[in-house]
Amino acid sequence: DAGVTQSPTHLIKTRGQQVTLRCSPKSGHDTVSWYQQALGQGPQFIFQYYEEEERQRGNFPDRFSGHQFPNYSSELNVNALLLGDSALYLCASSFGHEVGNEQFFGPGTRLTVL
């Protein structure tokens, strides 16, 4: 089992551009959550996908959007990039979306906005 995988590992973009990050959940998992982790900070919840729908959303603007595919993989899209979007973006998967279901995190995608 490869666990949660994310691509790409690193990405450099310029302000105003758009970016797409990808996540493949752990085998058997159907729920994917995305987090933004700024340097030296804890992860901040962006949103969660279950059954191909956004179920919960954190305090992030509409520039952040996502998608879940029938195979449970997911994408995070960020439009009109700002310097402040530079961070490590983490994907986590779980089986179901009840409280207490262990979330398994991928290694993250390091996004740098210049």
Partner: protein
């Protein structure tokens, strides 16, 4: 607004010593309190978790103490080892919205 406040920001402990990390929360709807361990270049990994109906949970050298009335919980790492050097995050989640809220993290360094 950070819903879970974590302290200290960093700590150094000698091998064999005890590391203690504290967290506090305000949202009484939180009903699941996990701790995550993160190594450089890796994503966080679940270490141990507790529900508010128990005051303590122990797994190996790691213990969570939970004080519901004070809205505080802490992680104790006993017999700290160099391999425990990592960043530790407390977190909290509510059955109302299933959003996991993390503390700012504590970097633990264990000196051999």
């Amino acid at each position: 607004q950070q819903q879970v406040k974590q302290s200290p920001q960093s700590l150094i402990v000698q091998k064999g010593g005890i590391s203690i990390i504290n967290c506090a929360y305000e949202n009484t709807a939180f009903d699941y309190f996990p701790w995550y361990q993160q190594f450089p270049g890796k994503g966080p990994a679940l270490l141990i978790a507790i529900r508010p109906d128990v005051s303590e949970k122990k797994e190996g050298r790691f213990t969570i103490s939970f004080n519901k009335s004070a809205k505080q919980f802490s992680l104790h790492i006993m017999d700290s080892q160099p391999g425990d050097s990592a960043t530790y995050f407390c977190a909290a989640e509510s059955s109302n919205d299933y959003k996991l809220s993390f503390g700012a993290g504590t970097t633990v360094t264990v000196r051999a």
